[in-house]
Amino acid sequence: MPSAAPPTARLALRNDPSEMARLAAWLDTIERDWALPPGPAHALRLCLDEAVVNVLTHGFRPGQPQAVEITLLRQPVLTAIVVDDGAPFDPTACALPPRPHTLEEAPAGGMGLRLLRHYATRLTHSRPDGRNRLEMEFMPDGEAPG
Protein backbone atom coordinates (compact mmCIF):
# COMPACT_ATOMS: atom_id res chain seq x y z
CA MET A 1 0.00 0.00 0.00
CA PRO A 2 1.60 3.30 -1.00
CA SER A 3 -0.32 5.30 1.61
CA ALA A 4 -1.90 4.85 5.02
CA ALA A 5 -4.59 7.48 4.42
CA PRO A 6 -8.09 6.12 5.03
CA PRO A 7 -9.98 5.22 1.85
CA THR A 8 -13.27 6.70 3.12
CA ALA A 9 -14.36 9.89 4.87
CA ARG A 10 -17.77 10.92 6.10
CA LEU A 11 -19.36 14.22 7.13
CA ALA A 12 -22.91 14.96 8.29
CA LEU A 13 -24.25 18.51 7.97
CA ARG A 14 -27.32 19.98 9.63
CA ASN A 15 -29.98 22.15 8.00
CA ASP A 16 -28.14 25.41 8.63
CA PRO A 17 -26.31 27.70 6.19
CA SER A 18 -23.33 28.00 8.56
CA GLU A 19 -22.60 24.33 7.89
CA MET A 20 -21.11 25.28 4.51
CA ALA A 21 -17.99 26.59 6.28
CA ARG A 22 -17.59 23.22 7.99
CA LEU A 23 -17.79 21.54 4.58
CA ALA A 24 -15.02 23.81 3.22
CA ALA A 25 -12.76 23.16 6.22
CA TRP A 26 -13.36 19.41 6.00
CA LEU A 27 -12.36 19.45 2.33
CA ASP A 28 -9.11 21.26 3.23
CA THR A 29 -8.20 18.34 5.49
CA ILE A 30 -9.15 15.69 2.93
CA GLU A 31 -7.25 17.43 0.11
CA ARG A 32 -4.10 17.45 2.22
CA ASP A 33 -4.42 14.02 3.85
CA TRP A 34 -5.35 12.28 0.64
CA ALA A 35 -2.88 14.32 -1.44
CA LEU A 36 -5.51 14.85 -4.12
CA PRO A 37 -4.24 16.03 -7.52
CA PRO A 38 -5.37 19.60 -8.39
CA GLY A 39 -7.88 18.72 -11.15
CA PRO A 40 -10.07 16.26 -9.23
CA ALA A 41 -9.63 18.28 -6.00
CA HIS A 42 -10.99 21.39 -7.71
CA ALA A 43 -13.88 19.53 -9.33
CA LEU A 44 -14.76 17.82 -6.03
CA ARG A 45 -14.85 21.10 -4.12
CA LEU A 46 -16.89 22.81 -6.79
CA CYS A 47 -19.46 20.03 -7.12
CA LEU A 48 -19.88 19.63 -3.36
CA ASP A 49 -20.35 23.38 -2.90
CA GLU A 50 -23.03 23.34 -5.60
CA ALA A 51 -24.81 20.14 -4.60
CA VAL A 52 -24.88 20.79 -0.86
CA VAL A 53 -25.94 24.44 -1.04
CA ASN A 54 -28.78 23.34 -3.33
CA VAL A 55 -29.99 20.80 -0.79
CA LEU A 56 -29.87 23.39 2.01
CA THR A 57 -31.50 26.10 -0.10
CA HIS A 58 -33.98 24.25 -2.27
CA GLY A 59 -34.36 20.79 -0.79
CA PHE A 60 -34.85 21.50 2.92
CA ARG A 61 -37.65 23.34 4.68
CA PRO A 62 -36.42 26.11 6.99
CA GLY A 63 -36.11 25.06 10.60
CA GLN A 64 -36.74 21.34 10.01
CA PRO A 65 -34.27 18.86 11.56
CA GLN A 66 -33.02 17.56 8.21
CA ALA A 67 -29.51 16.37 7.32
CA VAL A 68 -27.09 15.89 4.42
CA GLU A 69 -24.54 13.13 4.66
CA ILE A 70 -21.44 13.19 2.50
CA THR A 71 -19.26 10.14 1.92
CA LEU A 72 -15.98 10.34 0.03
CA LEU A 73 -14.31 7.32 -1.50
CA ARG A 74 -10.80 7.55 -2.75
CA GLN A 75 -10.69 4.29 -4.71
CA PRO A 76 -11.07 3.09 -7.43
CA VAL A 77 -11.88 6.64 -8.48
CA LEU A 78 -12.47 9.71 -6.32
CA THR A 79 -16.22 9.67 -5.59
CA ALA A 80 -18.54 11.82 -3.50
CA ILE A 81 -21.92 10.48 -2.40
CA VAL A 82 -24.41 13.03 -1.10
CA VAL A 83 -27.49 11.66 0.68
CA ASP A 84 -30.27 13.96 1.89
CA ASP A 85 -33.81 13.70 3.21
CA GLY A 86 -35.01 16.85 1.43
CA ALA A 87 -37.45 17.19 -1.46
CA PRO A 88 -37.01 14.56 -4.18
CA PHE A 89 -34.77 16.11 -6.84
CA ASP A 90 -32.70 14.63 -9.68
CA PRO A 91 -30.09 17.15 -10.89
CA THR A 92 -29.12 14.92 -13.80
CA ALA A 93 -32.60 14.95 -15.33
CA CYS A 94 -33.86 18.51 -15.62
CA ALA A 95 -33.21 20.75 -18.62
CA LEU A 96 -30.55 23.40 -18.14
CA PRO A 97 -31.51 27.00 -18.72
CA PRO A 98 -29.98 28.49 -21.88
CA ARG A 99 -26.82 30.53 -21.62
CA PRO A 100 -27.82 34.21 -21.48
CA HIS A 101 -26.15 36.52 -24.00
CA THR A 102 -26.73 39.87 -22.35
CA LEU A 103 -26.50 41.08 -18.78
CA GLU A 104 -30.10 42.29 -18.75
CA GLU A 105 -31.48 38.87 -19.68
CA ALA A 106 -29.21 36.93 -17.37
CA PRO A 107 -31.06 35.32 -14.47
CA ALA A 108 -29.13 35.48 -11.20
CA GLY A 109 -29.03 31.72 -10.82
CA GLY A 110 -29.24 28.44 -12.60
CA MET A 111 -25.48 28.08 -12.97
CA GLY A 112 -25.03 25.42 -10.29
CA LEU A 113 -26.48 22.46 -12.16
CA ARG A 114 -24.53 23.38 -15.29
CA LEU A 115 -21.28 23.36 -13.32
CA LEU A 116 -22.18 20.12 -11.54
CA ARG A 117 -22.83 18.36 -14.82
CA HIS A 118 -19.70 19.73 -16.42
CA TYR A 119 -17.22 19.01 -13.65
CA ALA A 120 -18.37 15.60 -12.44
CA THR A 121 -17.05 12.96 -14.82
CA ARG A 122 -20.05 10.83 -13.86
CA LEU A 123 -23.23 11.87 -12.09
CA THR A 124 -26.01 9.51 -11.00
CA HIS A 125 -29.09 10.05 -8.89
CA SER A 126 -31.25 7.48 -7.12
CA ARG A 127 -33.83 7.42 -4.30
CA PRO A 128 -33.05 4.55 -1.91
CA ASP A 129 -35.14 4.59 1.30
CA GLY A 130 -36.98 7.73 0.24
CA ARG A 131 -33.84 9.89 0.20
CA ASN A 132 -31.87 11.57 -2.58
CA ARG A 133 -28.57 9.84 -3.31
CA LEU A 134 -26.28 11.72 -5.66
CA GLU A 135 -23.10 9.95 -6.69
CA MET A 136 -20.41 12.05 -8.36
CA GLU A 137 -17.18 10.73 -9.82
CA PHE A 138 -14.00 12.71 -10.44
CA MET A 139 -11.64 10.76 -12.63
CA PRO A 140 -7.96 11.58 -12.35
CA ASP A 141 -6.45 13.24 -15.42
CA GLY A 142 -5.36 11.11 -18.26
CA GLU A 143 -7.06 7.92 -17.11
CA ALA A 144 -9.98 8.53 -19.41
CA PRO A 145 -11.30 6.32 -22.14
CA GLY A 146 -11.04 8.01 -25.54
Binding site: P17, M20, A21, L23, A24, P38, H42, R45, L46, D49, E50, V53, R99, P100, H101, T102, L103, E104, A106, A108, G109, M111, G112, R114, L115, H118, Y119
Partner: protein, 112 residues
Protein backbone atom coordinates in the same frame (compact mmCIF):
# COMPACT_ATOMS: atom_id res chain seq x y z
CA UNK B 1 -12.27 36.09 1.99
CA UNK B 2 -10.52 39.43 1.92
CA UNK B 3 -11.45 42.53 -0.03
CA UNK B 4 -9.44 45.70 -0.59
CA UNK B 5 -10.93 48.74 -2.30
CA UNK B 6 -8.87 51.46 -3.92
CA UNK B 7 -10.49 54.51 -5.54
CA UNK B 8 -9.47 55.08 -9.16
CA UNK B 9 -11.38 58.36 -9.21
CA UNK B 10 -14.55 59.53 -7.47
CA UNK B 11 -16.73 57.17 -9.49
CA UNK B 12 -14.58 54.16 -10.16
CA UNK B 13 -12.79 51.70 -7.93
CA UNK B 14 -10.41 48.79 -8.08
CA UNK B 15 -11.50 45.89 -5.89
CA UNK B 16 -8.92 43.26 -4.97
CA UNK B 17 -10.46 40.00 -3.78
CA UNK B 18 -8.53 37.18 -2.16
CA UNK B 19 -9.53 33.74 -0.94
CA UNK B 20 -12.27 31.33 -1.91
CA UNK B 21 -15.50 32.59 -3.46
CA UNK B 22 -17.48 29.57 -2.24
CA UNK B 23 -20.69 29.71 -0.21
CA UNK B 24 -18.79 30.25 3.05
CA UNK B 25 -16.32 32.80 1.65
CA UNK B 26 -18.60 34.89 -0.57
CA UNK B 27 -20.85 35.76 2.38
CA UNK B 28 -17.97 37.81 3.79
CA UNK B 29 -17.72 40.15 0.78
CA UNK B 30 -21.21 40.11 -0.72
CA UNK B 31 -22.63 43.10 1.15
CA UNK B 32 -19.58 45.27 0.51
CA UNK B 33 -19.52 44.42 -3.20
CA UNK B 34 -23.24 45.09 -3.47
CA UNK B 35 -22.78 48.50 -1.91
CA UNK B 36 -19.94 49.40 -4.28
CA UNK B 37 -22.07 48.35 -7.25
CA UNK B 38 -24.79 50.73 -6.05
CA UNK B 39 -22.55 53.72 -5.39
CA UNK B 40 -19.84 53.57 -8.10
CA UNK B 41 -19.99 53.78 -11.85
CA UNK B 42 -17.43 51.11 -12.74
CA UNK B 43 -15.52 48.40 -10.87
CA UNK B 44 -12.27 46.75 -11.81
CA UNK B 45 -12.33 43.46 -9.91
CA UNK B 46 -8.91 41.87 -9.52
CA UNK B 47 -9.36 38.10 -9.19
CA UNK B 48 -5.67 37.13 -9.23
CA UNK B 49 -5.73 35.97 -5.62
CA UNK B 50 -9.13 34.26 -5.76
CA UNK B 51 -8.22 30.59 -5.77
CA UNK B 52 -11.71 29.16 -6.16
CA UNK B 53 -15.13 30.26 -7.35
CA UNK B 54 -18.47 28.44 -7.36
CA UNK B 55 -21.91 29.62 -8.42
CA UNK B 56 -22.47 31.69 -5.30
CA UNK B 57 -19.42 33.80 -6.18
CA UNK B 58 -20.47 34.01 -9.83
CA UNK B 59 -23.86 35.22 -8.65
CA UNK B 60 -22.29 38.04 -6.64
CA UNK B 61 -20.21 39.15 -9.65
CA UNK B 62 -23.21 38.87 -11.96
CA UNK B 63 -25.54 40.85 -9.69
CA UNK B 64 -22.92 43.59 -9.35
CA UNK B 65 -22.56 43.76 -13.15
CA UNK B 66 -26.33 43.77 -13.67
CA UNK B 67 -26.82 46.60 -11.16
CA UNK B 68 -24.05 48.68 -12.71
CA UNK B 69 -25.25 47.85 -16.22
CA UNK B 70 -28.70 49.26 -15.49
CA UNK B 71 -27.06 52.59 -14.66
CA UNK B 72 -24.78 52.51 -17.71
CA UNK B 73 -21.78 51.34 -15.68
CA UNK B 74 -19.69 48.21 -15.84
CA UNK B 75 -17.66 45.50 -14.15
CA UNK B 76 -14.29 44.48 -15.61
CA UNK B 77 -12.50 41.37 -14.36
CA UNK B 78 -8.72 41.16 -14.10
CA UNK B 79 -6.48 38.06 -14.37
CA UNK B 80 -8.45 35.15 -12.96
CA UNK B 81 -6.41 31.96 -12.41
CA UNK B 82 -7.00 29.13 -14.92
CA UNK B 83 -9.44 27.16 -12.75
CA UNK B 84 -11.42 30.30 -11.97
CA UNK B 85 -11.49 31.51 -15.57
CA UNK B 86 -12.70 28.11 -16.72
CA UNK B 87 -15.63 28.30 -14.29
CA UNK B 88 -16.41 31.80 -15.63
CA UNK B 89 -16.64 30.38 -19.16
CA UNK B 90 -18.48 27.14 -18.39
CA UNK B 91 -21.10 29.02 -16.38
CA UNK B 92 -21.60 31.64 -19.10
CA UNK B 93 -20.48 34.61 -16.97
CA UNK B 94 -17.45 35.22 -19.19
CA UNK B 95 -19.79 36.16 -22.04
CA UNK B 96 -21.39 38.88 -19.97
CA UNK B 97 -18.43 40.92 -18.74
CA UNK B 98 -14.90 41.56 -20.04
CA UNK B 99 -12.00 39.51 -18.66
CA UNK B 100 -8.51 40.96 -18.98
CA UNK B 101 -5.14 39.48 -18.18
CA UNK B 102 -3.28 42.70 -18.67
CA UNK B 103 -3.63 45.30 -15.91
CA UNK B 104 -3.25 48.28 -18.28
CA UNK B 105 -5.88 46.98 -20.68
CA UNK B 106 -8.26 46.34 -17.77
CA UNK B 107 -7.71 49.83 -16.41
CA UNK B 108 -8.36 51.33 -19.84
CA UNK B 109 -11.59 49.30 -20.08
CA UNK B 110 -12.85 50.46 -16.70
CA UNK B 111 -11.95 54.10 -17.31
CA UNK B 112 -13.38 54.13 -20.86
Amino acid sequence: MQMDVEALDGERARVVLAGRMDVAGTAAVDAALTELSETRQALLIDLARVDFISSIGLRTLLLAAKRLGRRGGRVVLLHPAKDVEKVLWVSGIAELMPIHHDADAALAAVLA
